[in-house]
Symmetry: C2
Subunit: 279 residues, 2 copies
């Protein structure tokens, strides 16, 4: 079984970013990372994103607000970032605390700065297969992993397990754009194992530690693991039991070191595209 | 094989509409049907919609424009309808002629009047499974046919053939909302026949006369035909060869007299919902 390493995909995206930057004059694009509270996974993603932007030669700034900030105060602060011409892209770490109406923020964010595809305009574009918007970075990262490894998608059976707005749904639409035959599975799916086994490509985006093992995988299938969980020993792990795939899957992404590493590279690419469109 | 008749489903929706109307005071909701040019299928759909609104005790008015109207002139006229407080719902017959930028109209239409779900706001809601918006009427009509006939969707394998923004894509999302396991097939799908045969429910929305016959259908499956085509003898027909299903499918919708009759009933229901929200 071949391990599909995120770092290699990220390096390829880096080349694309460098290419895009060549034509760029004036100031370097700048990302605003907006965080409310101190959730460990937000902090971890923020660190990863800051590091990646720096590595790619891009600018990034964190805007952190207390976990108990009021809806009104947060909206005022968010507006400033949203309107700031020195910021070309925004990453909002979610979910926001309950007192903030997340829906309002989704509608407020300028689509051209909405690098993670949370605004209705970008969502509608992803749904329609219109590439002029921004798709959620994690969903796009899955497609990038497949493309970078030259894994064909046209006509192939892709099984997506999970139907979230962050991965499952947008990924299904991106896969459709690649001409895959897409099946969306979820908690209510009957005969999940049987269905998963039919996939030429199986994508796990359920958020449950090691939920899928080799018995869910067809011989020779490609397995992409989007999950980031903590196992019973406190160790980072995916939705897939990686070791159990040996001898069954042809290729698979590990966790950590798989899709996660690609997500921030996609974010960087989106930032450069946003930067180019805003000059 | 049981024939699933649209008229019976339409009658059930009529009951819901009457129930909704009970609480309504003041003027009757009014639909604007906006047509550019004289395409026969537009005219046919317009007649059907006018008839249905009248039958349901609702108001409707046609706004027809010459096929060569300029982008600018059409937008000015469309704006008037869009802003008219006496009109609570709009049905835009599409596709529009090439000189009109349809994308702009999709963004112009007020989501609360957008009964056929063409605005980004409504599209994003359908994608997210948020029922506060309007889904495209034809896609919703398919779900109504299944519900009215008490055909379970939860956990079931639904195969949708076709990935248009009018039916295939939104229908897949509506089916997901009903907890079905959804597979989206299209022209590039490998082994289409095999995949279709696995469906507990098979929905044809391809727009090709009698493309699917009994050999694509699993024993006991439910077949929903969204197609409206003309066969080699000039007769109206669906995407499915209805007669070939006998002895294979358990139930199927005919064309005409199937989904089409339900679509305008859904439009009427949307109009009443729009009317209630605009007072």
């Amino acid at each position: 079984m071949i391990t599909l390493k995120g770092a290699e995909v990220s390096a390829k995206i880096r080349e694309q970013v460098d290419e895009l930057c060549k034509g760029m004059t004036g100031s370097t694009p700048k990302l605003a990372i907006v965080r409310v509270g101190e959730r460990p996974d937000d902090l971890s993603y923020e660190r990863g994103a800051l590091k990646k932007m720096e590595a790619f030669g891009l600018l990034a700034e964190s805007f952190a607000f207390p976990g108990d900030i009021s809806d009104e105060d947060f909206k005022r602060e968010f507006s400033k970032i949203n309107e700031n011409p020195e910021i070309q892209g925004i990453l909002l770490l979610r979910p926001l605390p309950e007192q903030i109406r997340e829906k309002d923020i989704e509608e407020m964010i300028q689509p051209k700065k909405d690098l993670d595809g949370i605004s209705p305009v970008n969502i509608a574009k992803v749904f329609a297969g219109d590439e002029s918007g921004f798709a959620p970075c994690t969903a796009e990262a899955v497609v990038e992993v497949l493309k970078a490894n030259e894994i064909p998608m046209t006509g192939k059976k892709v099984i997506v397990v999970g139907r979230s707005m962050v991965v499952g749904r947008p990924l299904s639409m991106l896969m459709l754009k690649e001409n895959a035959t897409v099946t969306i599975c979820h908690t209510r799916t009957e005969n999940l194992k049987e269905t998963c086994k039919q996939g030429d490509i199986l994508v796990a985006a359920v958020g449950r530690a090691k939920m899928l093992d080799g018995s869910y995988v067809g011989t020779g299938a490609v397995v992409i693991d989007v999950g980031i969980n903590v196992d019973e020993n406190g160790k980072l792990c995916g939705d897939v039991d990686f070791d159990s795939l040996e001898g069954i899957a042809s290729m698979a992404t590990p966790v950590p070191g798989g899709v996660g590493a690609v997500t921030t590279a996609v974010l960087a690419k989106h930032l450069v595209i946003a930067g180019l469109s805003q000059r």
